[in-house]
């Protein structure tokens, strides 16, 4: 494997750290196992995790676009 390819591979791997962020954020209950601050009457426990569904989707989209050019595939 030539060195430029290794460089691209390493950049791709860094984008994948965004996946680690979203998984850790929801798999560590001490972060969110509380009632307050509630939002519209919904305990923090629930709206925090639902919010992470949306953040996770955005992060995945970012990884998709950031790594799509590297794969040379279609973007849309």
């Amino acid at each position: 494997m030539t060195s430029p390819e290794q460089g691209t591979k390493r950049r791709g791997s860094l984008w994948y750290l965004l996946f680690v962020v979203q998984v850790v954020a929801v798999l560590w209950p001490p972060f969110y196992n509380r009632v307050e601050p509630s939002w519209l009457g919904i305990p923090f426990f629930y709206w925090y995790q639902l919010l992470w569904v949306l953040i996770g989707a955005v992060l995945t989209a970012i990884v998709y676009f950031a790594t799509a050019s590297r794969r040379g595939g279609p973007r849309s």
Partner: protein, 515 residues
């Protein structure tokens, strides 16, 4: 039980009639030669991003999920929300691993996990273990979908004695079997679009209208006992509910895409890009599932558990009746029909895909591998069609004659069994380092240990592992996967030390995994 609700039943029957027509018409959609297994069983691998979104969404977020997750919230509280971190954790796996698996399967014409493992590791017995695990784990899953249909049929007020009581379910099943037989994967793919629109309408109606009726989320959560609102904080020397919650989410996520029906849905996509895009788009379903979990709390606040008209339903189906009861209590009859049709049709889509996936496995990895190596593509497709019928019929017989509780317990065991295929399938997509016999032994150890632990835990999902004075309650599937991996890695090292020059059989090369 309440008397038959004719308005709701009429809407329900009309919607069912529509999807029946659609299921048969689907045979002509993106037309292919249905006498080829990859056409019948994978829709010709022609589904783009949008159809894959509907198909995989309809496949993974099943009717049973939409009944059982709120039911768990209704009964046990906050722990039910593990479904949310679970569905967050699955998409990185989908994004990273499955385009590789799609590529290698497309390149070599593989249509099952058994095909892939057979090619990658060149060991028919390992492939057989993967295949049997897949089929056995799928059967109770299909049976549970039928429970979803049973619950809504009972909710419509339709009841009877003996054969008459089971007739609506049998009719629904004959419809399912017939269109799957004739149209293959195209049938659930087209029906999934209708099902998902109905489910979304129902979910949003439920999370907007019912809280308004009940006076807002503040009022709803005020009615939920404090112990159910959040997880119990662990005491000293244990990870308590936190460990259970996290390992349930992570273990379920690791297991999900190993199920045959998940792989069938994913392999039917037209490209690895369609899969990656779906990793960002499928969380739309996760969000809805999270909202629907809250519906279990709505049911507590509405007090449906204590209303006399629903007593018979709760008696028959337990907490699984919470959602139908809440809908009957809160919605006008015509919309009850829509909501129940959403759940009923939502059961047919995954049932169809699961039976196709099990049929593909049997046909490719048992029938062709062991009995008829020379069979033609046409025969292969015929065998799969008949096996899909047998599989569905088996699930129907199971649900009619065996208590529902057994199906639930077998499905729990199914999760523990299917995760044991992870080293060969998911890790196999990245490395050929593992020895094939080591994988087989690891699979066997994980399967037996997992079954024994589940039985010891009285068929509950978590097992309290005690170590050095600490207790770590966690998902049995997760623990036994670690055991499986340890055994597999250790034995691989031993084999490599004993026979350093042994030839490695592998029908695939690294380039096959890249686009």
């Amino acid at each position: 039980m309440q008397s038959v609700d004719w308005v709701a039943t009429s809407v329900f029957v009309v919607l069912f009639g529509f999807i029946t027509w659609l299921g048969f018409a689907a045979a002509r959609w993106r037309k292919g030669d249905l006498d080829q297994l990859h056409e019948w069983g994978l829709g010709g691998r022609r589904f783009g991003t949008l159809v894959t979104w509907f198909l995989v969404g309809g496949d993974l977020y099943t009717a049973y999920t939409f009944v059982a997750v709120p039911a768990l919230a209704f009964g046990a509280g906050a722990v039910a929300f593990f479904a949310v971190p679970y569905t967050i954790a699955i998409y990185p796996i989908l994004f990273l691993v499955f385009p590789r698996i799609w590529n290698v399967c497309h390149k070599h014409g593989y249509i099952t996990a058994g095909d892939f493992v057979r090619g990658r590791f060149g060991n028919r017995w390992l492939a057989l273990a993967i295949t049997i695990t897949g089929i056995v784990a799928t059967m109770p899953y299909i049976a549970l979908q039928l429970v979803g249909i049973q619950v809504v049929i009972a909710g419509l007020g339709i009841s009877g004695t003996g054969f008459a009581a089971d007739l609506p379910l049998i009719i629904a099943f004959v419809i399912l079997a017939a269109f799957t037989f004739s149209s293959g994967l195209r049938a659930p793919a087209s029906i999934a679009i209708v099902k998902d629109i109905l489910i979304y309408v129902t979910a949003f109606a439920a999370v907007i209208l019912i809280p308004i009726q009940l006076g807002g989320f503040g009022e709803i959560f005020a009615a939920v006992p404090a112990a159910k609102q959040i997880l119990a904080v662990p005491g000293p020397h244990t990870t308590g509910a936190y460990g259970s919650y996290a390992t349930l989410a992570l273990g379920s996520a690791l297991a999900l895409f190993l199920y045959p029906h998940s792989l069938t849905g994913i392999l039917s996509a037209s490209s690895g890009h369609a899969i990656r895009r779906n990793a960002a788009l499928l969380p739309g379903y996760s969000f809805m599932l999270g909202l629907l979990a809250l519906v279990g709390f709505f049911a507590i606040a509405a007090g449906v558990g204590n209303l006399p008209e629903f007593a018979a339903g709760f008696k028959q189906f337990g907490n699984n009746f919470a959602v139908p009861a809440l809908f009957l209590h809160s919605f006008p009859p015509w919309f009850v029909g829509v909501a129940f049709a959403a759940i009923g049709i939502g059961a047919l889509v995954p049932s169809a895909i699961m039976s196709i996936a099990a049929a593909n496995l049997y046909t490719r990895n048992i029938h062709r591998e062991f009995f008829a190596p020379q069979m033609s593509g046409r025969t292969e497709s015929q065998v799969a069609k008949w096996v899909s019928l047998i599989v569905k019929f088996g699930a129907l017989v199971f649900i009619l004659f065996v208590p529902t509780q057994y199906a639930i317990q077998l499905q729990l065991l199914g999760g523990i069994w299917i995760i044991q295929t992870l080293p060969a399938v998911l890790l196999g997509a990245y490395t050929r380092w593992f020895n094939d016999w080591a994988l087989l032994v690891g699979w066997a150890v994980g399967t037996f240990a997992g079954t024994a632990m589940a039985v010891a835990a009285k068929l509950t999902p978590t097992y309290p592992v005690a170590f050095a004075g600490y207790t770590f309650p966690g998902y049995t599937a997760f623990y036994t996967l670690l055991l499986n991996l340890a055994v597999t890695a250790l034995l691989t090292l031993v084999v490599k030390a004993l026979r350093p020059r042994a030839a490695v059989v592998d029908a695939t090369v690294e380039a096959d995994y890249l686009a």
